[in-house]
């Protein structure tokens, strides 16, 4: 099922973006970790979130929560949108 994110800036003083979904997911982070590893990502699995380093060096680090929410560590909107789109494509294969 396709996954579509909307990126938002939570507040003026936050140096990051959030990417939110209309309907939250219930992701199995261990499973997602394995999938993202096969797609060239580097992952720190903390159990309650994944710290995802995308293979594209220009894209920022992303924290992925079980609800599908993303926290994207950049203050540049286009990079946040690009990172969210990249992960949306990866997650689409995980959602029935």
């Amino acid at each position: 099922m396709p996954v579509h994110y909307t990126t938002v800036r939570p507040c003026r003083t936050k140096s990051g973006f959030e990417a939110i979904l209309e309907d939250p997911l219930e992701l199995d982070l261990d499973h997602v970790e394995q999938e993202l590893l096969t797609r060239g990502c580097r992952i720190l699995n903390v159990g309650v979130l994944l710290v995802v380093t995308l293979p594209e060096a220009e894209l920022p680090e992303v924290h992925l929560y079980p609800s599908g929410r993303l926290l994207i560590k950049t203050d540049r909107p286009h990079l946040a949108t690009e990172a969210a789109a990249r992960l949306a494509a990866d997650l689409s294969t995980q959602v029935p």
């Binding site: 003026r12 003083t13 936050k14 140096s15 990051g16 720190l44 903390v46 159990g47 309650v48 979130l49 710290v51 680090e61 924290h63 926290l71 560590k73 203050d75």
Partner: protein
């Protein structure tokens, strides 16, 4: 203990103004914060050094992110902030002993966040034997902000930065000390597995 936020630099200012010698310790929470938080801390300590030019204010950066990883992986999520704070206090106490300091200074004020309820403050205090000095404990946020503006730290503290990304959605406001101790025993906090001074960087 100093963060990139509004409160702890004001607490440090209050102590310095009263003649205390202060060693600033920052628990570097990356990857659960970002580089800007660290940069803000450096700038805040720089501001304090400018305000008190005759005082030496060392800044120690201490890696804390991997503690957080262990807490998140191994303990119930709603006590994560307390485990985090208690670890910070333990590390601060070890630094204090090395530096010859006699107390741990924080920017906590009562009730501001879940870890700062009176009960949770008591649970935190049980992690160390040194006194915890909290100059802001009875102040409300508006008063602290006013002071921060006066001493010139507010503009630095409110620069963009990333708050902790691993804060639980529903942190407990009244943790049972027995549960916290039990979680720490599983983590072998007291046995040395986590009880270390990782990568101390002095500036």
């Amino acid at each position: 203990m100093i963060s990139g936020g509004i409160d702890s630099p004001v607490a440090a200012y209050a102590a310095l103004r009263h003649g205390f010698d202060v060693t600033a310790i920052h628990m570097d929470n990356r990857p659960f914060t970002d580089d800007r938080e660290v940069a803000k801390v450096e700038e805040l300590v720089g501001r304090l050094r400018t305000l008190f030019p005759k005082r030496t204010i060392p800044l120690l950066m201490i890696e804390h992110g991997r503690h957080q990883v262990e807490f998140a992986r191994n303990a119930r999520r709603n006590i994560g902030c307390l485990l985090c704070r208690r670890m910070m206090f333990r590390v601060a106490e070890e630094v204090a002993h090395k530096e010859g300091a006699v107390g741990i200074l924080t920017g906590e004020s009562l009730g501001q966040v879940a870890s700062q309820t009176l009960h949770n403050i008591w649970v935190q205090d049980q992690s160390v034997s040194l006194p915890i000095i909290r100059p802001l404990i009875g102040m409300d946020k508006a008063e602290i902000v006013e002071l921060a503006r006066e001493v010139g730290t507010f503009e630095i503290s409110t620069k963009p930065g990333l708050c902790c990304t691993i804060v639980p959605p529903r942190p407990t406001t009244q943790a049972a000390l027995t549960e916290v101790l039990s979680a720490e025993s599983l983590l072998q906090v007291e046995a040395g597995k986590l009880r270390f001074l990782p990568q101390l960087r002095r500036q």
